[in-house]
Symmetry: D2
Subunit: 352 residues, 4 copies
């Protein structure tokens, strides 16, 4: 039997943390060796997430005082809140320059630390580390991820916009001045912190937009879209909250350039993703639903005609906790540790 | 005590029918004198909708064989399926030329019977009647509704797009070639018919677009927007289904024309609706949520800056069964019978 | 036009508080003159509950420093957290001995202050006031409520158990040693405080029992059931949380005494509630559903045969925020102010 | 690599059918060789369940005309509607006496064909086959299942009552005349047929009991409980529907016999299930939640004190589509084919 890599999960009491635990528990080459949660330190995982009661897992510990040099971890997932993360990861690499880290926060996603400072309102705490961070949308940066020590796992909203749009932008097939992304997310995207606005009674039977005109995720889109286009791209993006647990659906409005029809756009996506295990392009005219990717690492993309000639409607769906976070992170881990990319990520969607 | 008008509700076993009964039961000047439902004829309303068990209501009867001439009804609500409706209403007016009817179906909404034939795939069955039908978006056609005998109550999706957009189009404040309406509706919009796709287990934890690129509601939008603009307007419109019962939220992307900023658009809406009892414009930058209008006849509208200069995001919310259907219908009834417009429609939204 | 009573709502930022505001806004003889919320003092109601944006309401103030003597309030609703309430109400009566108060907390429900101390873990802070408090289950204590100055509004779970059981216990028709009450509540019963366990993502797709074997509501049941039976009655009671907003459903297992059949029990309930406006007994064998009372002040009760001879299953349903809290409170207000008991409480249930 | 068994799934367009496909797609020793669905014959699985779009699966065929003798199937799952099933399985064994079948319907669960006729209102269509059918609650009939050719997979409600109660009944630790089972199920338990009462808008925000006093599942409980007790046992059982997709929770009220305390009952369950991979007994006083078993084959059981001395409250939770149906069926398949019992069933629960 093959040896197992020893894995640490920092921030295991949140939803992306528990999702990492769910996936790693069944990963044939991973062993969960460390789980941290500062406020729940000393407790068992089963007290924080009772679904893990039947499994053997280490006790939760505090991140403080951990000896990163001698921890013997082959890879660390960092599922900590924004900003804290830069300091923690800086500490890890200071103690152990050979460490491998996949960070699920937004802290290392912007290569331009000035853009980071502008969007997040404070200086970057680890600008030197930022230089070696690889942006972890595997389908785009597969080669870089394989060699990376620090991977910045992409955001859930942005993954659900980049996977359908990047191939079209790269092919110069759409007008980049007129992209409208109307995105809808399940509630787990808001995390596990106890806020009034996230209570069941506030959310159930409710639907609404938020962060209208200025959501932070836009910085990440600006960066990747501009890079793909070779010029500055600024898109319109509105996130909404849906009364459901999991799933993001992006409805994207684009105009074909230089005579490209919606069918042409469909062909570009089909070709790009033909061999990708975690992106599935539907037949032309069909559009995906969040429930058909729930619990899986799959992204589904559809393209349809708008009735206005030359315009297309592109719809993408993924599970924000899997392909939008922890599944994507495990996909990156697999590459960083030399495992097959799909290992431990073959769950079929749970529907109904 | 003032006398009560005798009211008939055709199609009382569906959701818009039951919503009419809910509103009329507490309307001080209305008496429910007739309720029909062909497949449930002979049953009590309580067997079809147990929430009415504590109330006295007539037994459900079949529509067939009713003597419209001597029925003694002051006004008839028609909440029947599409197409059937044209024939039924034709029959009503043939028997009783003085009848007053508010039709909640799509059958009399398109003044151009050729457009009707194109979108619905068959000839209009009552083209003569169509000529006298008044489109019943009260805020726009108040004067016409007061004198009407046949009112075509607008659709729920289209109301939630017209109320925010019509004032902007009329003021020539936005570019009518670049309007994108991304609309989301609760499940009651799909009616009460037993379809696999509407089952709880199919819908819960799901979110999806449908009718992408070609929903029938577009015909109604084309008509009213073109009329308001004085030229042909064709918008992009995508409906989605949300796992909740009630509510429509439209996220609308527009570009200001001739230097109009989002704030300018906000002022136009604010002025238009200042005195309207059922349209409330939020402070600039705030956007509405479906749960805050649930069960009420209120529409809430918000305007915010897009980050792309010159572009605005307009968001509107209403309850598809009230302002989007039965409340709107009672509002029209009030005008047709000479009652105060808000009578019986003063319910405060039920949240949580 | 009749004059309106000036009403105060203490604790208007919680769910029972907002529900009082919803009902009072449409009550023909009530004017909301004061709304308090300590942490939200200085804000408008629309900032706390956006559904009230279209209405004129006083600004929220802090409870501290209010001059109860000169406030000019005809009646005060107290929707404050447990324990605080005893002190606040003591202060009100100290300043204004002629005050009228309906308290929605548990603070004055137990006439035995020793029982209070036992269940709540501290001495009663206003034992003198307790003596004059009337337990406000209107159907049972109508006469006392009419003359009361301080009414202790019953709990939601307990109302949904008392209304079906009290008539059976009083008639000595069931074995009081063998009552099992399996109760299920929507999430609003847990209030509006931001707790992890109440987050949408924790609750949706979840169902569970809590407080198994020892919920505080039992004290209230013990008191009223023992009083009705003329001997000590201790029931088995298990509360559960349902992923929905509103509604309590109690499934109650009883054994008929002295040959009473389930039909006999049904007849007792039917007779008891024949003329009650807010209790509706269904035909024998039918059982109620929470959705058919949602948003209304109605209680629905059904009785069916168990297949074990002599045993019956009694099911009751009410809206925890209306008949289980704020509607019940307004019903009491109506009696205390000499208004018709049903005034302002005639809303029909909102289904779907 | 080990060879794979060829598996047939009859009735693959329903929820238990799709759940079998979900599990078998990832089972290391199973190959889905046949999927049937009469009304969807000729379609791809992806048209019926889009979540299977990324996978290679055979096309759906009609059951009629299949050549069971030469189909080369190692095992057949039968997820067909009640009654049809007896005839289909009779046909299978007639053509191929060496066939192995796991039937997920109720058709072969009652060993007494007279009891079957009484509860189902018609004669048993395959009484000879009934004799060899093994009741497939694996934890109880493991030895028999291993040698069986026809396994009658237990019902979801009944599994969630038998697993907690059978050990207590066998140990003569509880009074079998006083068992009350209050059971709550998610909506997938009602299947995928398009019925009005199962529509999202009917179910959401609703909770109710059904089949009060006389649900068919009782026959199965009577059989197994009486067998375990060595005398006739008749329990009180009420099923309820919860607005969620998956999960059954049973709240069970029992009285200890001969001085057995709730702790004693807990010890019995703990010992019984100590080594079972799919039953987890929680620490005394803790009770399970449906969300912590969702998507997994796990059953969780808790025991707590009732406040009435001598009485205990036992709560059990499982996923009705997994341990309550398709997971249980695969568990039986594993034994029938000589595979490890847990193979392909190691999914961790999907929460949130």
């Amino acid at each position: 039997m093959a040896t197992k890599a020893k894995i640490g999960v920092l921030g295991a009491s949140g939803y992306t943390g528990s999702e990492l635990v769910r996936l790693l528990l069944r990963h044939p080459r991973a062993e969960i060796a460390l789980v941290t949660a500062d406020r729940r330190a000393g407790q068992e995982m089963r007290e924080v997430f009772p679904q893990f009661a039947p499994f053997d897992l280490p006790k939760l510990v505090s991140i403080e005082g951990l000896d990163w040099k001698n921890a013997g971890l082959d890879l660390i997932f960092c599922a900590l809140p924004h900003a804290t993360t830069q300091k923690v990861i800086k500490g890890i690499f200071a103690a152990n320059p050979a460490a491998k880290v996949v960070d699920l926060s937004a802290d290392f996603r912007l290569s331009d630390t000035a853009a980071y400072a502008k969007w997040y309102g404070h200086e970057h705490y680890a600008p030197e580390l930022q230089k070696q961070a690889v942006y972890g949308l595997t389908e785009v940066y597969r080669r870089e991820v394989k060699k990376a020590q620090l991977v910045a796992n992409p955001g859930c909203y942005t993954s659900c916009a980049q996977l359908p749009l990047l191939p079209l932008i790269k092919a110069k097939a759409i007008d980049t001045d007129e992209i409208v992304i109307d995105a809808k997310s399940g509630m787990t995207g808001a995390g596990r912190s106890a806020k009034e606005a996230m209570l069941f009674s506030e959310v159930s039977e409710g639907f609404h937009a938020y962060g209208v005109g200025g959501h932070r995720h836009m910085a990440e889109l600006d960066q990747e879209f501009s890079k793909a286009a070779g010029r500055e791209v600024v898109v319109t993006f509105t996130p909404h909250l849906v009364p459901m647990n999991r799933g993001i659906l992006s409805t994207i409005y684009v105009r074909g350039k230089r005579g490209r029809t919606p069918s042409d756009l469909h062909v570009i996506l089909l070709k790009t993703y033909m061999k990708e295990p975690f992106v599935h392009v539907l037949p032309f005219g069909e559009t995906p639903q969040t429930r058909h990717v729930r619990g899986s690492n799959m992204t589904m993309i559809g393209v349809a005609n708008d009735r206005i000639p030359g315009r297309a409607i592109v719809v993408a769906a993924l599970d924000n906790l899997v392909k939008g976070a922890s599944g994507q992170a495990v996909q990156n881990m697999n590459l960083m540790l030399g495992y097959p990319e799909t290992m431990g990520l073959e769950q079929v969607a749970l529907f109904p």
